[in-house]
């Protein structure tokens, strides 16, 4: 018995449907991995560089001339260009401090809580309004985290659950200069590790800048 001309061959139709669905799935499957390209390739450096702290004209900073308890915001980027750090001279010997009086320290200036930047997070010199009995601290006005710069930037008040990372500085007393050599403490906020997720430094110096009014 021959089929009627206009009779629909259902099995054939089903087959075509399956083929189209199948190829659509394959096409989508091929598309899925391309989503990963949304994540930009990481950039950074492979190991901690040793950077000499310099002023804006490129001359090494003299450690003995760094102002004590300077209320201005003094920063340098280390190890990457989007990783700013406070440069502080606390005027007395502190844990981890370097320089003639072991009083110079540097801490990450990106708040470990949720990433606010200076001037929202800032060093308050001695004589500031007390927070939990402390009159000098690093305080972030975004959500009120407070850190103790005299003690490795440990936590004074929450909401932060981590202290600020500390830059390890070395002091060369013959030339009175400072070098940043590595980071200590938790990973710098917003980075999977300190060495990736930002542009590498230019050369082997880290320029120190002071934030000014506009």
């Amino acid at each position: 018995m021959s089929k009627k001309e206009n009779e629909i061959d259902l099995s054939r139709r089903k087959f075509l449907k399956m083929v189209s669905i199948g190829s659509a799935v394959v096409a989508l499957g091929a598309f899925a991995p391309s989503l990963s390209y949304i994540v930009a390739p990481t950039i950074g450096v492979s190991e901690f560089p040793a950077l000499t702290l310099v002023d804006s004209s490129g001359n090494p900073i003299k450690a003995s001339t760094i102002a004590v308890n300077n209320p201005q915001i003094v920063l340098f980027d280390y190890p990457l260009l989007n990783e700013p750090n406070f440069l502080l001279n606390l005027g007395k010997s502190v844990p981890g401090g370097v320089g003639p009086q072991n009083s110079i320290v540097a801490y990450s200036a990106i708040c470990e809580h949720l990433g606010c930047l200076p001037p929202s997070i800032k060093f308050y010199p001695p004589g500031s309004p007390p927070i939990d009995g402390y009159t000098s601290y690093i305080h972030c006005s975004c959500h009120g985290s407070t850190f103790d710069p005299f003690n490795r930037c440990s936590i004074i008040t929450s909401p932060t659950t981590k202290p600020q990372p500390m830059v390890v500085l070395t002091y060369d007393s013959s030339t009175d200069t400072l070098q940043a050599v590595k980071m200590n403490g938790p990973v710098i906020y917003g980075h999977t590790d300190d060495l990736t997720g930002g542009s590498p430094p230019k050369g082997n110096t880290a320029p120190v800048t002071t934030l000014n009014n506009q």
Partner: protein, 415 residues
Amino acid sequence: MSFFDIIWNWIDSRAHISDIPLKAMPEYTMDISYWTGGLLAAAFIFQAITGVLLMLYYTPGASTAYSSTQYIINKVPFGIILLNAHLYMAYVMILLIFIHFFRNYYIGAYKKPRELAWIIGILMALVVVGSGFTGYFLPYTEVSVDATDVGVGLASKFPLIGNFLASLITGNGTISSEFGRMLDLHILILPAILMLLFGIHMYLYEKNEATPPVSMKTEQKGSTLSWVPTFLSYTAGITLILWGFVIVIASVFPVPLAPEAGSSVIVQAMPEWYLVAPYKVIDFVPISSNIIYILLVIVIFYMLVPFFDRSESRDPKDRPFFVSIVTVNLDYFILFTIWGYLQPAVQVQPVVWIPIMLGIIAFNFGLTYGLYYKYRKVTPTGSERNSFTHSNTKNKKQHFSDASDCNDKKEGVDK
């Protein structure tokens, strides 16, 4: 045949404009509460127009974004109005999202058959908040950079896809990469998604039609008015009133530009007003950055609410439980917003915030259920309004009869 008719006929016979199915709409939709979504659409069009104009002058980049924004404000003719109108309309849009959301919630518009419109609506709300968030970054002020960093930090805590979301915004970590992505999101990706969702939202509205007033028992339409000219002039009217209102406010109360990122001027870090409530909750010990989980639960709850609230009555008077929940949320939002402005970044201990939150729950549920038990017997339809309990078999039956009513109506209306 006039000259105008000839031109019109020429166009219409080719573009088939008069075939566009703009259905006659029920008379009760001639009421502003039926147009909160329409106003949102009008606001979106306004944002597209002003946004394109701003793009002519705005230059992304750490060294140029702020100065180009200052240029728009100080040098471009009417630039200050343009920029502020874009800003104010963004605020209006967020406000309208709230109004549209609460209006549709209270009148039970999310119920069958409008669940999909509701879910798409929640997605649109997220996209609109995302647009506000990305737009806030663009002038590159101190506060906007902090707000962005905090937002990225919270996004990275998102379960499973957190790091992906964060890197979506930050790119490779350099500031130029972040500008590229924030700008792309703000002017291209999010608007494209919003338009797509809006298309589906409108299609669903066209098919399911407006939710009748809660006093109407079945999905009956009553008498209708035609789109042209009645609703056409109505929509044109409210659109122009909204636009005019925003342009006037923007001209009279321009918002001063915050200090540039990287300056030493100290200003209290603060997100935009609609994010101040969650911003305050970050101060609640020990919630902090876990706020992201709370927000996630809230969003999922509201997405799924059509499947929780299964009573067939849309009337808020019959839904004390769901009315209480959304009202508690509204109260939290208002309270925490005010609190956030008064005491930003001041930690709140659990002994303070837990009683306050529980108190608001007790107050709202008490008040709503009190009114419910007092008034439910004297409602116009009397004892039939008991649809709150889920297990009521009578409800199930009514449900079916409602559905068939709905079909009857459809057949009757099609022309």
